[in-house]
Amino acid sequence: MPTTLLEQSSLFLQQFVNGMTLGSIYALIAVGYTMVYGVIQLINFAHGEIYMLGAFLSFSLVSGFFGVGLPFVLAVTIAVLVCALAGVLLDLVAYRPLRRSPRLAALITAIGMSIFLQNLALLIWGGQIRSFPRAVIPVFLFAPALQFGEVVVSWLQVVILLTAVILMVVLQLIVHYTRLGRAMRAIAQDQTAAALMGVNVDRVVSYTFALGSGLGGVAGILVGLYYNAVYPTMGYLAGIKAFAAAVLGGIGSIPGAILGGGILGLAEVFGAGYISSSYGDGIAYAIMILVILVKPAGLFGRPSSNKLYRG
């Protein structure tokens, strides 16, 4: 182990940066879970696959997998838009017909869609890990942005953190200060009453899926770049972790999802770094369980009233 105080503290700082990066990615995915849950009380287990789709689409568009290689920024934009569209489509095909059925039916459908999308990706892209070709990614992303002593923060880490923060702020603005946001909050409180007041419920739910899936797609792209690895099963583990983050923060609450993601990311990295490298995940989940035991509704969840967008 490193011995001097300087080494110890720079290791701590490095792990903190690693954990925050991971946490902001979890937060981006967790927000998608929590938004959909807030509006229609559905845990959309296929959300992790939308994230995987974002990574694969940007990889394919950039590397010319579909025949033409597009410039990086254009490819990423298209990938996010397609993810948003895929989310809407997912709702349209799989969840909307079941809106009036028992919740369990929709939940099982969500799991089915998750498996379906994973296998679809396996069929299209194959099972091996794909990497972004180095030539097509803006070079500066891999250069160190900050370096003090032994601690290195890459531009990519800065970009991930900034993207997460900006998107979260924008999302809060949308939810609190736009007509769409107000409609979403209204549906979250009482779907029937909102419909009676003239809110087009189906359309608002579609927008919710589009927003959440777009954010999931962004997370997928960032992760694909950060680890330089894109593979069909990547959505499963990330989806479960983000779901845990959403539950930890109080499912239905957007600030809760952000905080939950941050806590989970830090716990995982510090667990792996200081306790045992094989149990990083386990430690993250243990923290989640402890929080739930003390506060069953999660950090920002209120058990009694219905759900969305407080705080």
């Binding site: 182990m1 490193p2 080494e7 720079s10 290791l11 490095q14 792990q15 690693n18 954990g19 991971l22 194959g126 099972g127 091996q128 890990i129 990497s131 180095r134 891999f142 160190p144 370096q147 032994e150 290195v152 890459s154 990519l156 992760v223 680890y227 330089n228 690895a229 593979y231 099963t233 990547m234 583990l237 995982e268 990295v269 510090f270 792996a272 770094g273 490298s277 094989s278 990083g280 995940d281």
Partner: protein
């Protein structure tokens, strides 16, 4: 209408008799099953296994088969997953036409299939599983590849004597192959006075290795030994570089894959391998040439070892016929250098555990290509 239906039935009957005919013809062939991951993350390893087996199948059949009967390689995909491997093994065990199995690739898969073959009295040769326990656990398992205790010893000696490393950190995956390697390497390093400054583990499913690598960075090792497989190794090396870890990286045969060639960060990586195309004689050159012709690929060690394993299986069947017990006895009888099977990977003969002694070679990545390391240790 009626005549149309009549012809349909007639056509159906003709098809039926044709397919029945082909089933009957296939029964004449000698089935040799080959089990490995042919899809999934380790599919590129499996591809070498498949191609090596198919090349040998071609050669055996072109020279008249085994005592006049054609050979058919039956491929079974087990994804390197112990559960899938056990399912595949059960299928072979219950197929009376199967008298020997070639496989599996991953040690964890081999160890899962091993008790099933043992119980069914079905001999098997693994061309690639290097975990030390395999031979000791079953008298029906043979291998024509070295063991990890040998490979670990060899790597430690190479790191210390040739590379002159003083401090090494180990990054190992949690599986039977990597744990065996790590233990062997650690033991050998202690004897040689090579300091192990840290050992961290990772799971195959994760893509984030930064927590462990940040720790390694503070330990300032001369090199990091990655005990695991290529798909993760390429991520590990890239993430290490992005954290500013500048030390050398090396690994064992699990890293011998083209995926690392696409990664510019992996320049200079060296690995052990049981087979190098440029270190053999005329027979090896023939093999390499035929392989390139048939698959437009360079053969790797998986292909070479499988080619020889299928050759040994065919030799056993040719000598004693289609009988599991007799095939096992024949293989066990290949027990000394004089009786050895002469293949393209050198002379193969088994000790009392069904293990064999073979040389390890070293290759490295230079300018995005595998090249034989200038200095070999023999």
């Amino acid at each position: 209408m009626n005549t149309g239906r009549f012809f349909l039935v007639l056509a159906g009957l003709v098809l039926l008799s044709l397919s029945a005919g082909s089933v009957w013809a296939q029964a004449e062939k000698i089935k040799i099953p080959v089990a490995a991951p042919f899809t999934g993350p380790l599919a590129s390893f499996g591809e070498g296994i498949k191609n090596g087996a198919l090349l040998k199948e071609d050669e055996i059949n072109a020279s008249g088969g085994i005592n006049g009967r054609m050979v058919e390689i039956v491929l079974a995909d087990e994804l390197c997953d112990p559960q899938e491997a056990a399912a595949v093994a059960t299928r072979f065990a219950h197929d009376p036409q199967v008298v020997i199995v070639i496989g599996h690739l991953c040690s964890s898969a081999t160890l899962a299939a091993l008790p099933i073959y043992k119980e069914a009295g079905l001999p098997a040769i693994t061309p690639a599983s290097t975990n030390p326990e395999i031979g000791r656990l079953s008298s029906y398992y043979f291998r024509n590849v070295y063991r990890d205790d040998f490979q670990g010893d060899f790597l430690a000696a190479y790191a210390e004597k040739v590379k002159k490393f003083k401090k090494v950190a180990i990054f190992y995956e949690v599986n039977d192959y990597a744990l065996g390697l790590k233990d062997a390497f650690t033991k050998a390093a202690e004897k040689l006075g090579l300091r192990i400054v840290g050992a961290e583990s990772y799971m195959a499913k994760t893509a984030d290795f930064k927590a462990q690598l940040s720790k390694f960075k503070m330990l300032r090792p001369d090199a990091v030994f990655i005990a695991g497989y290529a798909p993760q190794a390429t991520l590990i090396i890239s993430q290490a570089r992005s954290l500013g870890l500048k030390c050398a990286f090396f690994g064992a045969d699990g890293l011998d894959d083209a995926v690392l060639l696409k990664n510019p960060d992996a320049e200079g990586l060296f690995v052990t391998t049981p087979f190098l195309a440029d270190q053999g004689g005329a027979r090896v050159n023939d093999f390499v040439e035929h392989y390139r012709e048939k698959f437009s690929l360079e053969p790797n060690w998986f292909a070479a070892n499988t080619y020889d394993a299928v050759g040994m299986a065919a030799a056993a069947i040719a000598a004693v016929g289609l009988d599991r017990g007799k095939v096992r006895a024949w293989l066990a009888g290949v027990s000394s250098p004089e009786k050895a099977y002469q293949g393209i990977t050198g002379a193969t003969y088994f000790d009392e555990n069904g293990d064999c002694l073979k040389a390890a070679l070293v290759k490295m990545i230079r300018d995005g290509r595998w090249v034989s390391a200038g200095e070999q240790l023999r």
